[in-house]
Symmetry: C2
Subunit: 113 residues, 2 copies
DNA sequence: GAATTACGCAACCAAATGGTTGCTTTACTT
DNA sequence: AAGTAAAGCAACCATTTGGTTGCGTAATTC
């Protein structure tokens, strides 16, 4: 069955997205772009202390994780947010959390017996 | 106000936890431990190809993010899962996702006008 | 068409990460 | 008390990461 392989690549994807969010600068970029307004690179790097190129690298990490998409418009690169990868993570975390809650309730009823 | 500072350190914490999950090996460790059963290091490294020391390092990364706690019992170190940091991430992702949905609905009603 | 703006590309660098090996220490077993 | 099992500690290594600077290129503006 390709279930195992499916699951492996899913874990790899999750790890990729988690890793992309595992940085303060990138988190702040996500938080900006998640207001729905696409922005150019210079605009995104304006209120940062980092260089434009540093921001560019971070944006490409986010893009590689699918969190953000880039479209070229004229001479600027516009980045826009995509919510789906984050939604996937949310579901994943919810599943872990649910499993945990069930474990707790099983433990509780065991103690009560 | 310490609101900004609070938010910063929160973002730092989030980034820490995200980064801790941004690795396949650590994700698999979390997935094992999230069944509620605490395990020793050797037990956790038994079905991995990696060395015990490599697994130990990963476990300490998880511990540093608060995802896992270590208690010494006799000659073994027992690691147990803590769901709270993941719950925090889940809430954070939910807030981003909610903001996004509201943005979409605003956009939709704008187009409909 | 000349200046400016926005960006890409590449080299380079320091520090962090992910992994190994070797050895010591601590606790359990017999 | 000797042997073994579990883990800690430290050094070492290759690769990745996060950042910079310098320069080239494409698109706008004047």
């Amino acid at each position: 069955m390709s279930n195992k392989r499916r699951k492996q690549s899913t874990n790899k994807r999750h790890a990729l997205v988690f890793a992309a969010l595992g940085d303060q600068t990138r988190l702040s970029l996500v938080s900006k772009l998640s207001d729905g307004q696409p922005r150019s690179i210079t605009l995104l790097s304006d209120d940062h202390k980092l260089t434009r190129q540093a921001i560019t690298k971070h944006l490409h990490v986010l893009e590689n994780a699918g969190i953000v998409q880039c479209i070229r418009s004229g001479r600027e690169s516009i980045f826009q947010f995509d919510v789906q990868p984050l939604d996937d993570l949310k579901d994943y975390l919810a599943s872990v959390s649910d499993q945990w809650d069930q474990t707790l309730s099983r433990l509780k009823s065991f103690v009560e017996d």
